[in-house]
């Protein structure tokens, strides 16, 4: 498969001024400033194939944003190589700008007091698009994103979900090969998130747009990405499919039992199994799959109880992510 992003041994170090608190230290810093080297990205390598949908996740301060900025040509790396569609981002910034689209959740690009349509026309000029092609593309996107009814209203009057859909159109107007999204679903309600994810998947399917997304939202991972890269303190600690990701980091499964008889008096005592809820005719268990297999637990349950129904659920993605972040925090402490 054709590689569209290639990153080899990428490093980024920042020099920041340090100053201890207090008046004396303020004076000292004035005459003899001290600096600290910080490694934001530590020797990472990965590649992304054309048309892939990659979620780039990690706790705050892990280096996600720095990496995205280097991929889009905003920052120089300290060392290492990057090629995005065969261009070196920080050397060919303007050329690259025509090939990529960016959506930064916290940096809107629409003109707030004007209808989104005005920004779209402006972007048509900024990306130097041919008028006829631009009009065709705009109509296509307006229909796909279902924004026709509010595209002529001032942006300030739109809901956050409507606004985000318009932001996406502004980023896709020049038909970029790669779309970089930094927290695009932040603050959106369930329906708006769902619509946005559907449209992203559609663009990926119809136009083979490569999607590179950072997000803290587990739903984005499950509903958009087919691959996950986890970055922790500047290093890639996982790179694989969403399924492999779950297999590696999910440490428990949930078992819901509906019982045929009243077994309230029966005591279940298994290593690695925690009872989350219990009443006369139901039981909810958390099984630590590193200590005991689900099969073993079910065998034991069948011996003890008369079971009417059984449901096995995986550990929710949100908890998996939270778990990785907590581990990261503990390591730091």
């Amino acid at each position: 498969m054709e590689k569209i992003i290639e990153v080899k041994n990428l490093n980024k170090e920042f020099t920041s001024k340090i100053k201890l608190s207090g008046f004396r230290n303020s004076l000292k810093a004035l005459f003899k400033p001290e600096y600290q080297q910080m490694k934001a990205v530590d020797n990472i390598s990965f590649s992304v194939a054309k048309g892939e949908k990659v979620a780039f996740i990690g706790p705050n301060g892990a280096g996600k944003s720095t990496t995205i900025k280097m991929l889009t040509g905003i920052l120089y790396p300290s060392s290492g190589e990057i090629r995005v569609d065969n261009l070196v981002p920080w050397q060919d910034r303007k050329k690259l700008a025509f090939k990529i689209g960016t959506v930064f959740g916290q940096k809107p690009q629409l003109w707030y007091h004007l209808p989104a349509m005005d920004t779209f026309y402006l972007f048509g000029k900024i990306y130097e698009l041919d008028q006829a092609k631009f009009q065709k593309r705009l109509n296509f996107l307006i229909d796909k994103f279902q924004v026709r009814e509010f595209v002529n209203q001032p942006v300030r009057k739109l809901s956050l979900g409507q606004r985000m859909r318009c932001e996406m159109i502004a980023s896709l107007i020049h038909q970029p090969k790669i779309l970089f999204l930094d927290e695009p679903t932040i603050g959106l309600d369930v329906v708006a998130k769902q619509q946005l994810r559907e449209v992203l998947n559609l663009m990926n399917k119809e136009e083979e747009t490569t999607i590179f997304i950072t997000s803290h939202d587990a739903g984005d991972l499950e509903k958009i990405a087919d691959r996950v890269i986890v970055i922790d303190r500047g290093r890639v600690i996982f790179d694989g499919t969403v399924k492999n990701f779950k297999d590696k980091y999910a440490w428990y499964k949930l078992i819901d039992l509906e019982l045929a008889d009243n077994h309230a008096s029966e005591k279940l005592n298994l290593r690695g199994v925690k009872i989350l809820a219990q009443d006369k005719l139901s039981l909810k268990l958390e099984v630590d799959i590193k200590k005991i297999s689900v099969k073993e637990v079910i065998d034991k349950l069948l011996n003890i109880y008369q079971i009417a129904d059984i449901t096995i659920a995986e550990m929710p993605m949100e908890e998996i992510i939270a778990n990785i972040y907590e581990q990261n925090l503990q390591k730091i402490k």
């Binding site: 905003i74 120089y76 910034r93 960016t102 940096k107 920004t119 130097e128």
Partner: protein, 269 residues
């Protein structure tokens, strides 16, 4: 040729969108621009007192009516420009400048279009309100089509020059972060060296000579004097000086920006 047209057209489109944006609240536009009448009224009061003691009713070649129009014109140019230094400086300080790098336009070029769009619409509103009120009380300077054309050229160049000088000051935010003091200093220099409160003709000759060789004369005094006391030779020299300064500041901005943006690369992230 087509490529150059597309490049210029993108900044002109930013200018147009900025004009539309400023027109989104027409009443607010009118209120915020009516203030010029107050300043002109106060200054004309001051000049009336000064002129009352002048036997020939002329100061440095300006009649009282001419002086009031002069003050109106300089205020018009100065106050039509929103706070350029603050606006660009804030974008640099907040790191938003970095996002412009991922778009196919120049950061300063984008603000050139967007700020001049706002400036243009403020200028037109103030001019309309001001002239409408002032001509009820004082006589317009003698104008013809050529003088109007000459004044328009001088004003356009003045607004562009003011943008470029301000943008150069604001780019210092790459190093000093907060450019508020820079804005304060530039404004005061413009007040005195640009001839905001009184024409440069009232200064001693040696000072006038020095000021003629600085860019500030081309921002306020030059266009205002062309409007009030048109003189072809002066206008030609003015336009030449304005053009040279515009060229110098474009080069300066390119150098300062190229150095400054490296700073973002070091501190960003």
């Amino acid at each position: 040729m087509n490529k150059i047209y597309r490049k210029l057209n993108k900044y002109f489109s930013i200018f147009k969108v900025s004009v539309m944006d400023r027109l989104a609240y027409p009443l607010e536009l009118l209120y915020s621009n009516i203030f010029i009448l107050l300043i002109t009224l106060v200054m004309s009061g001051v000049w009336r007192v000064v002129y009352a003691n002048q036997p020939d009713k002329i100061i440095s070649g300006f009649s009282l009516a001419g002086m009031i129009w002069y003050v109106f014109m300089t205020e018009l140019i100065l106050t039509s420009n929103p706070s350029i230094i603050g606006e660009i400086g804030e974008e640099i300080k907040s790191g938003n400048v970095a996002y412009a790098l991922a778009k196919p336009y120049s950061f300063v070029g984008y603000y050139f279009g967007s700020i001049l769009g706002k400036t243009f619409i403020n200028f037109i509103t103030k001019l309309f309100v001001g002239v409408l009120v002032l001509i009820c009380f004082i006589k317009l300077p003698s104008l013809n089509l050529f003088i109007i054309f000459a004044v328009i050229i001088a004003i356009i160049l003045a607004l562009v020059l003011n943008f470029l000088v301000s943008a150069t000051c604001s780019l210092l935010a790459f190093w000093v972060e907060d450019v508020d003091s820079m804005r304060f200093i530039y404004q005061k220099i413009l007040f005195i060296g640009g001839g905001l409160l009184f024409p440069l003709d009232v200064y001693p000759i040696f000072l006038q000579k020095i000021l003629h060789y600085l860019p500030f004369e081309g921002i306020l005094y030059g266009p205002a004097r062309t409007f009030v006391n048109f003189d072809l030779a002066y206008w030609q020299a003015l336009v030449l000086r304005q053009t040279i300064w515009i060229f110098i500041f474009i080069v300066l901005i390119k150098i300062v920006y190229a150095q400054g943006i490296k700073k973002v690369n070091i501190n960003g992230g």
